[in-house]
């Protein structure tokens, strides 16, 4: 355990402000720096800039959608350590499979339990540390 506080950056991308607020409220802590994006294009610009440890992406957004973003992240060697949680409105198996196949670490369906989302965030961050 390091004594110095390490700030991990987490990006939250959703076109719905209340959803961003819910996710931010759920995951924020004094060791995490939360960055918000309101559409897919803004999300991609911020991902390139901050190289976050974890991104939480809404699947259906204006601009690049969540699936396109996961693929872009997985194709980018600079972002090898970035973990991805997709947040989707579809509970269809086929959509979940497509999300996981694109390279997401976890796939969460709306509505979700903040406690469960937080557990997934912590699991993803642990993976991130292992990889990085």
């Amino acid at each position: 355990m390091s004594l110095q506080k390490v700030l991990a950056t987490i990006l939250v991308a959703d076109d719905e402000p209340f959803l961003r607020e819910l996710v931010r409220t759920t995951v924020e802590s004094d060791t995490r720096n939360i960055v918000e994006a309101a559409d897919g294009d803004e999300a991609w610009a911020l991902i390139k800039k901050h190289q976050p440890a974890l991104v939480l992406l809404d699947v259906r957004m204006p601009g690049l959608n969540g699936l396109q973003l996961v693929k872009a992240i997985r194709a980018d060697p600079e972002l090898a350590g970035t973990r991805v949680i997709l947040i989707a409105a579809s509970a269809h198996e086929s959509d979940r499979d497509a999300g996981m196949a694109a390279g997401a670490d976890f796939y969460v369906t709306k509505p979700f339990s903040p406690a469960e989302l937080l557990a997934l965030v912590e699991a993803a961050m642990a993976r991130s540390r292992l990889v990085a």
Binding site: E16, F18, L19, T26, A89, S90, P111, F112, P114, A115
Partner: protein
């Protein structure tokens, strides 16, 4: 069917035509290049000639068919009755098809049946009557039809899937806020301010979800044709005024009304058209983020009144104009600017306008140049000028009940959902009495009563039927204003009111 008649004229006279049939060998070359099978029979139903295509279709050689009864080419169920049908046809021969929807088949040499379309044509020859059957192989066409149907089914299933996915997305998003913040409220220690904030979001998103469900159900009802229009003769300008009053005042986007005084009455469902107007007006506001005047105007155009709503807002690209009325469609720029919407409002508007026999369209000079929505509603055709009683009542169901009861008493009536309509009807019809509800959307019944007594004096009986409890003092006050009688809203009082009017009008 042109192919039912073989056009011999090019080759010569009626005589040569008969000769050709008597000895089809002469025309064999012509018959053999025809894409359809041709079978010529004599009066006994014996095959006199077949062309090359018949051999290809059935697998029989010409020599095997020649002189045989034509029934050998007909599959079992139809074979038994065919001889009788053939005899009937011989008695009244005409050029006709055997019927494409009859599922006619030809039995081939190998026992298989092939779907065909057959055209029959009688030809008199020197050797007697000949029947020419032109037989077309329908396998390809039926295959194409089956494929088209399968494609259409697949397209419908795809559209349905897409719809379900959209509805799911639209509904789960507000639900996620409600469920999520509720859990945070229960499981976390939050400050008073935070709790207040979470509850506000939950309320707002709960309302959004409710609106979405209502819109969606409205649309389903409209699309299923289950929505019955409650058409009434309506003063459109008055309805527009109600719509304008119902959208919140905003000085950035003032709404200007421009309706000529002599606009004819329209025959519409006032509630449904109010929904269209409110929707278009709030859209005009919503998509004018930088403000700008909104003008709503109307004019007569033939048997319709055309209503236009003009804004100075975001405008639309040409390719967006057509898609605008599709379910869940949202314009790209509105999405980018994060202007909220379900994409259902305009789909609902379109259905309502179309249910009235009108049409709706959007025009725009382009992005940033504002949008104009125009829709039409039918002009009310010669009004029921002969009605005895005007029913000023905003509840359609209750108006129907009154109408039925008056009819049972030999009185005709006409429904007016609001005051302006009632006044116009009283002015131009022969109405001799009014049934008045006290609680109306625009003004109170008392005001109407005062107005009526001022303009028309005291010779029109006015019977009040109201939900509002009326105490003895108010009763006296209403009678002083000229009310003939006052009833509560019940089946019994409707009967009493109708009987009273009958006695008053038909002494």
């Amino acid at each position: 069917m042109s192919r039912a008649t073989i056009d011999w004229d090019a080759t010569g006279s009626e005589a040569s035509r008969s000769a050709a049939l008597a000895d089809p060998g002469k025309f064999e070359a012509v018959f053999n290049v025809m894409p359809d099978a041709i079978v010529v029979c004599d009066e006994e139903g014996r095959i006199a000639f077949v062309n090359r295509q018949t051999e290809l279709l059935t697998g029989y050689q010409r020599s095997e068919l020649s002189g045989e009864l034509v029934e050998m080419l007909i599959p079992a169920p139809a074979r038994a009755t065919h001889a009788a049908l053939r005899t009937q046809y011989g008695e009244h021969p005409t050029t006709r098809t055997m019927g494409t929807d009859l599922n006619i088949n030809v039995r081939c040499r190998d026992g298989t049946d092939i779907p065909v379309d057959i055209a029959l044509s009688p030809v008199e020859t020197d050797e007697g009557l000949r029947i020419v059957a032109v037989v077309r192989d329908m396998r390809e066409r039926l295959g194409i039809e089956a494929k088209l149907k399968a494609d259409a089914d697949a397209e419908m299933a795809r559209a349905k899937d897409e719809l379900i996915s959209l509805v799911s997305h639209e509904m789960r998003t507000p639900l996620a806020s409600i469920v999520g913040f509720a859990e945070l409220l229960i499981t976390r220690d939050s400050s008073v301010d935070q709790r207040q904030r979470y509850l506000e979001i939950m309320l707002q998103e709960g309302k959004r979800l409710t609106g979405l469900i209502n819109d969606f159900l409205d649309l389903q009802r409209l699309e299923g044709g289950h929505h019955k229009l409650r058409t009434a003769e309506t003063d459109l300008a008055q309805l527009v005024k109600r719509a304008v009053d119902s959208v919140p005042v905003d000085s950035k986007t003032p709404i200007k009304m421009d309706f000529p005084a002599d606009l004819p009455m329209v025959a519409v469902d006032p509630d449904a058209v109010l929904q269209v107007l409110t929707n278009l007006l709030s859209n005009a506001r919503k998509y004018s983020p930088d403000g700008g005047e909104i003008v709503i105007s109307g004019h007569r155009s033939g048997e319709s009144v055309e209503v236009s709503i003009d804004d100075h807002g975001l405008g639309l690209a040409p390719d967006e104009l057509n898609k605008l009325f599709n379910k869940f469609y949202r314009a790209e720029r509105a999405e980018r600017l994060r202007i909220k919407g379900t994409g259902l409002g305009l789909a609902i508007c379109r259905r309502i306008v179309e249910a009235h026999g009108g049409h709706i369209e959007a025009t725009s000079s382009g992005i940033g140049k504002g949008t104009t929505f125009t829709f039409t509603v039918p002009v009310s055709l010669p009004s029921p000028a002969s009605a005895d009683v005007v029913l000023l009542e905003d509840d359609h169901g209750f108006a129907k009940l009154l109408e039925a009861e008056l009819k049972a008493n030999g009185l005709t009536s006409v429904w007016a959902p609001e005051v302006q309509t009632a006044n116009k009807l009283i002015d131009k019809s022969s109405a001799k009495a009014v049934v008045l509800d006290l609680m109306l959307p625009d003004i109170q019944g008392e005001e109407f009563l005062i107005g009526l007594r001022t303009t028309r004096g005291s010779n029109i009986p006015v019977v009040i039927v109201t939900m509002r409890p009326v105490g003895p003092e108010e009763q006296a006050a209403l009678k002083a204003l000229g009310a003939t009688a006052i009833f509560g809203k019940s089946a019994k009082s409707v009967r009493a009111a109708a009987a009273l009017l009958r006695d008053a009008l038909k002494p």
